[in-house]
């Protein structure tokens, strides 16, 4: 995939979330990872790349095509991609199975029977077959995040965007979700994700963006970024997060 941003600013009222973000990935990037300190603009950039919000200024391109910032093109962009939130965001009134079926039926127009088949195979894929009839409150955090992942994968998305998918999980559940993401990476899924799991980021990424204070501080392949931090702020961040 080729993703790029040109002169992107994002303001929420008075506060500046992104300032002059400019980057372009290589044409054959499969996994792009966003790292950097909290509040540095990772989530905001992901939301813009995922078409959930519009930049205040500047343009976003996917495969060199401008993402048109209007309701309909944004919605059809979101429909063919998948977005996963830190806090899972499942629908609490629906079972795991119904959560996955809902977009297949109402967004992608399939019959209930076909949607159920797709949803069940998704649950199977993420080792959730026993939990199909449970509501989110009956599932652990790791299970909820895997259901959310199954929901965003059910329509075979072009691009999967994950916003700190393991930040709300304890270490064991982190591992079970990262395993699933690793499997998706190996299967060739195009992914953009943000994370604080530096080991995983290094292993999975083709390309890394380091964001701080609303700007891209550094960009490069994982070896460049992790082994030879090109900017002192990047180095300082690593020594902080790796300390313990």
């Amino acid at each position: 995939m080729k993703v790029s941003a040109q002169h992107v600013d994002k303001l929420y009222g008075e506060s500046i979330a992104l300032r002059g973000v400019d980057f372009a990935t290589a044409d054959d990037t499969q996994v792009l990872v966003l790292i950097g300190p909290s509040g540095g603009g990772k989530s905001t950039l992901l939301r813009l790349l995922g078409g959930l919000e519009s930049p205040t200024r500047g343009d976003i391109f996917h495969e060199s095509t401008l993402l048109v910032q209007q309701t309909d093109p944004l919605r059809s962009f979101r429909r063919k991609n998948g977005f996963l939130f830190q806090a899972f965001n499942l629908f609490p009134h629906l079972t795991a199975l119904q959560n996955i079926m809902l977009p297949i039926i109402h967004v992608h127009g399939q019959e209930a029977a076909a949607a159920k088949e797709v949803a069940l195979s998704g649950l199977e894929r993420f080792q959730l077959a026993d939990h199909a009839e449970k509501r989110p409150a009956e599932l652990s955090g790791g299970q909820q995040q895997r259901v959310a992942l199954a929901r965003s994968m059910a329509h075979d998305p072009d691009l999967l965007i994950l916003d700190e998918p393991t930040s709300a999980l304890d270490p064991e559940m982190k591992a079970e979700v990262l395993d699933v993401i690793e499997e998706l990476v190996e299967a060739g899924q195009k992914i953009i994700f943000s994370t604080h799991e530096m080991g995983f980021a290094k292993a999975a990424a083709d390309e890394v963006l380091f964001l701080a204070e609303g700007s891209v501080i550094a960009q490069g392949n994982p070896t460049e970024i992790f082994d030879n931090p090109p900017d002192e702020r990047v180095g300082a961040f690593f020594s902080r997060v790796m300390k313990w």
């Binding site: 429909r79 939130f85 965001n89 009134h93 977009p103 109402h106 967004v107 409150a137």
Partner: protein
């Protein structure tokens, strides 16, 4: 104490019935108090010397009035539900003037006594418009009154569903109306049920105010029966039971619906 109540809170969702001693003692104490209250009330009522002979000839009329109240309540409930949904949509509209006008309507209705609305509605508005039917004017006024409160309950219910649910719906590509229909409203329904049921019980009781424009409903028939028979308590007891016979099923129905929409969140 705070540690004890925390223990109860934690144990509630997992349904392990480990209730702390202090909670048990308080619970039993409250139960005994309510029970004693009931017993003493029943004793007071039972020791009264009732005589239903005087009012018995009017039971037929009272029954007719009860039927009228049931019909008015039923129709006003349906109309106020429809109007309440309409007003809720207007309150959530992206068009600002629509929201303002709805707001003005709701504040006018909620800020004035129902009895003045009935009098002005019938003697001024309906009269000027040449509408004669007290029955329908009464139903429309009751519905207009109830709908204003109902739309506030609905709006609060919808707004209580978190922003993340909207995000999630948008992320999977749902349209705004689909998010309302598939995500927000199904979750809001459970939250608005108890308050709505209470409001509908109010509606039933409020219909008694229509006696002021001489709608022959239950309260008016009972008033006339009491006036003619010189009975008092003997007339009021069937009146209370008659209203309960309508409001209790509403309450039970709401409980049933709550159980149907129940899920942990």
């Amino acid at each position: 104490m705070s540690a004890d109540s925390a223990a109860v809170e934690v144990s509630a969702p997992t349904k392990s019935h480990s209730i702390s001693t202090s909670a048990l003692v308080i619970g039993i104490g409250i139960g005994l108090l309510i029970f004693a209250f009931f017993v003493s009330m029943i004793w007071v009522v039972a020791s009264h010397n009732f005589n239903f002979d005087a009012i018995r000839p009017y039971f037929d009329n009272m029954a007719k009035g009860w039927g009228m109240t049931l019909l008015i309540s039923f129709l006003a409930l349906g109309i106020s539900l429809g109007l309440g949904i309409f007003l809720t949509a207007a309150q959530l509209s992206p068009v600002a003037p629509t929201r303002w006008l709805t707001r003005i309507y709701i504040e006018l209705i909620r800020g004035t006594p129902l009895i003045t609305q009935i009098v002005i509605g019938y003697y001024l508005l309906a009269n000027e418009m040449g509408i004669e039917s007290k029955f329908w004017v009464g139903i429309v006024i009751l519905s207009a009154f109830t709908a204003a409160y109902l739309s506030e309950i609905f709006r609060a219910g919808i707004e209580s569903i978190g922003k993340t649910q909207w995000e999630s719906g948008r992320a999977i590509g749902l349209t705004t109306s689909q998010i309302y229909r598939l995500v927000i409203i199904p979750q809001a329904i459970r939250r608005v049920l108890p308050a709505s049921a209470g409001l509908f019980a109010d509606l039933v009781k409020n219909s008694s105010l229509l006696y002021i424009i001489a709608v022959h409903e239950f309260f008016m028939q009972t008033r006339e029966a009491i006036a003619n028979s010189y009975a008092s308590i003997e007339g009021l007891i069937p009146l209370a039971i008659g209203y309960l016979a309508i409001t209790l099923p509403i309450s039970l129905f709401s409980r049933k619906m709550e159980a149907r929409f129940k899920y942990e969140s």
